[in-house]
Symmetry: C2
Subunit: 142 residues, 2 copies
Amino acid sequence: MDSALQRARRVCEENKVRLTPIREKVLRLVWQSHNPLGAYDILPMLSENGKAAAPPTVYRALDFLVAQGLVHRIASLNAFVGCSVSSDQHVSQFLLCRKCGVAIEIEAPAITQAIAHNADQYGFQTDNESIEISGLCQCCQS
Amino acid sequence: MDSALQRARRVCEENKVRLTPIREKVLRLVWQSHNPLGAYDILPMLSENGKAAAPPTVYRALDFLVAQGLVHRIASLNAFVGCSVSSDQHVSQFLLCRKCGVAIEIEAPAITQAIAHNADQYGFQTDNESIEISGLCQCCQS
DNA sequence: AAAATAGTGTTACAATATATCATAACGAGA
DNA sequence: TCTCGTTATGATATATTGTAACACTATTTT
């Protein structure tokens, strides 16, 4: 968690962008939850002095964090999760438990390679890949 | 297109479910468009005698078709596309052009295998995999 | 300090999806 | 064939997710 913040600061410095208080808070919140969080789950947690933030506030912060590769969006859940891989590759590979909701980020070069190979066959130039595998995690199988 | 309908009928017969007129019409519409269609794009096309259908009508039909493996949902686009592979595997692998919007369904056992191997390492029991790769198709690269 | 850029607050709204309850169609067994 | 349980559809309302647009503030650059 602390190391995640350190990495975030480093990444932002390298990219010459600012990790403002709002962005940092959203990053902390997303990281603290080990399950993916929806934008509207985060929203009330951002409220200072009892006044809730408005949707654009959280979406801007999330868009920023996603752009920097610090957070991933899980399209099938409309939710966001902290990126746990340190390498700066722009891939998003997740095992998603449909029971407990946990999101396990995996790093599988074999998948990435197989995708690159297939895309090549179609002359397709890839931007980013998003792999979302739903199923049951080990804990939830009994 | 006709062969797609034939397959649909066969699949429904095997699964002992009904391909009702609404479901068949939605399937046709999704198939006719070679780009993914949003539910609200389909909605007005369902209108008989000038009266538009209500959202649940199209969502029910789409849910049914997805459950039968005849249509895929592209989560990153909130859209639906006809399934073009005949084998009855429950995987969803797409190359999505961000310029022209085309969705190319690929069948890559190497990817599936790499995923199975990784899931195994985590003791994760997979239901279905969804791979959405955004980028530029060959036509749109110039 | 002035100008330019980037970030935030706020309001309103668009787009996507579902809950709920009533009605209709169908299919199996008496 | 009738009725009863199941499945499908109609209809209304509402929930959820995501953006546009504009004013204002903070930060950086010149």
